[in-house]
Symmetry: C2
Subunit: 349 residues, 2 copies
């Protein structure tokens, strides 16, 4: 498998098949791990980084789950590849900007990925479509066990897993759920919901990761604390919180449908009409319209397109994806035209 093999496929997490996928796009678990007795990447020298890379690569090859993964050195990637992997949610901006000794690995359907020598020696990520944290955790736990057979992880009996940043110490776990909350946004309840989430010490982020705005009405909810609780407790807490947010979104959708069905239907159908007909379209407008169409599918207004196609478009309309698909560098103007034609093509099917 090469990077270009990803172009015409998207990850399992976009399939729209998991539980509650009318509201939850995906569930994700990230684990921070470090190799015992080797300085954290920010302090490590090239020899250390290379040693970590070699041992992780070797552990991947010995893993049942991971053995068919692609392992790519950052230094072997061009800028478009890096941007492409960031857009794909497989790699962070910081990691893309790094170099010698740093690498990225990912499995088929992008269910699992590992950033090697990012902030920690290993940042392992597992993703599943829909509201599926415990299934995701099962996968992650298996991988963690497999890897730990071949890598001696830095672990302290009092503190748990040691990490570069103390906020990740303990379990090293972060669970995130990506929610689509258009009705809470439209009914102007979203700020209250986000405030409540913050008070409960959970974090909310935008679709494109840490520090990004909530676009397309997507919000990622994740835990902030990974110390002092078991993995299961941490995930149970997020799970309970997400369940409440789902209920609130469902109520808001009902309210919209009861109070303002015609207006909502109009907004959804117009969004669909513009997406299927535009010849020039920005990513911001696209994401706003896709969000309405996604809501339209759940509310039964739109019947001839499935959630997967819409989920995938959120990823494919990004600049590096458009250029990979076109097979050449595109200016911003050219991307707006390519984006429109890609959308038309995908929605005509």
């Amino acid at each position: 498998m090469r990077i270009d093999d990803l172009i015409n496929n998207t990850g399992e997490w976009l399939k729209g098949t998991g539980p509650q996928s009318h509201i939850v796009m995906s569930s994700r678990i990230r684990l921070a791990r470090n190799v015992s007795k080797v300085p954290f990447p920010s302090r490590a020298n090239k020899k250390d980084l290379t040693a970590v890379y070699d041992s992780v690569k070797s552990a991947i090859e010995k893993s049942g789950y991971l053995k068919d993964s692609v392992v790519l050195r950052i230094n072997d990637l061009d800028n478009l590849d890096k941007q492409f992997l960031i857009e794909r949610h497989l790699m962070s901006h910081d990691h893309a900007a790094s170099g010698e000794g740093r690498a990225i690995a990912f499995s088929k359907e992008e269910i699992l990925s590992i950033m090697i020598n990012e902030e920690d020696h290993l940042r392992v990520q597992a993703m599943q479509s829909g509201f599926n944290l415990f299934e995701t955790w099962k996968i992650m736990d298996t991988i963690d066990n497999e890897l730990s057979k071949n890598i001696n992880f830095a672990y302290d009996d009092q503190w748990g897993y040691l990490t570069a940043c103390p906020t990740n110490t303990g379990t090293g776990i972060r669970g995130s759920v990506m929610l689509h909350l258009p009705a809470l946004v439209m009914t102007k309840q979203i700020n209250k919901v986000l405030e409540a989430i913050a008070k409960l010490s959970f974090a909310s982020r935008g679709f494109y990761g840490e520090g990004t705005q909530a676009i397309g009405n997507f919000f990622q909810i994740s835990n902030q604390v990974s110390l002092g609780h078991s993995e299961e407790d941490i995930l149970q807490n997020i799970n309970g919180l997400v369940r409440q947010v789902i209920e609130q979104e469902e109520q808001a959708r009902q309210t919209l449908l009861v109070q303002n069905k015609a207006v909502l239907e109009d907004k959804i159908c117009r969004s669909y009409g513009v997406l299927r007909n535009a010849h020039i379209i920005s990513s911001q407008e696209t994401v706003d319209l896709l969000s309405m169409v996604r809501l339209g599918i759940d509310s039964g207004v739109i019947k001839d397109v499935d959630t997967q196609a819409i989920n995938e478009l959120f990823i494919m309309i990004q600049p590096a994806h458009l250029q990979k698909i076109e097979g050449k560098k595109l200016s911003a103007t050219e991307r707006d035209a390519k984006r429109a034609s890609l959308i038309r093509e995908k929605l005509e099917k």
Copy 2:
């Protein structure tokens, strides 16, 4: 034929079949005539008005062209009927607001119509699709001759046909051409064109008649003077002027297509997409979008709909038409929904 028979048909002038119909919607000739020795309608008493009505009705029945026309007394029409006939360009607002002794007559396909006892005893109108003033004049001239065999028209050897307002005296003729000039509007040349028209003593009006704004980029050009020239000269003058405006619009369309093809295509296709998908739409937005689609048909961007369907929609999306089609009174909100569904239905065909 009854008024309700008109609902599912539209006039010949909307067929989009005449010459230059990519730019010219229709050609229209109006003739003002009065019955000799009877006071003009504003001065006439009920007996006079009734006598005029009787003699015009009798003349219509004896006419070869007009004998199958519908003749309707204003007092027999309800408000919806009146509004419907105004929307249809068959009757003026003033005429609809009148009463006893006043009437309206129109022939099959609405090629000919007569307002009886409006400002003049007879206001005869002939309409044809496309740029077709001389064909329209032929029809009008025949009717004028037929009617004058049975009605003694007020005529003065020095002044010609006498009319209630002196601006119509002489030939009593007004020729109008309805032009669709989206490219002159988009390239911001329209004001210069309209100023030139005014300097040449021609009038320009909007789609919905005298005193109305130019909506949907439609402009009606007509003569102001009807005295001192023959009918043929008057029509030749309008004809020459319209020919120039058509050329300017064609050049502007070329300019847009050369300089800004992608942007134009996007605008046209989005308009089409919104029309085919909206569930609530105002008449103003509809007319703006229909205008773009009409341009899209001429420029080859839109291929699966014909000019006639678009022309007809300009008429059918008006309030009285929507209510006639629905068969009941509709609130403004209900009309916006009915308008959207009518458009979707018509464009799906």
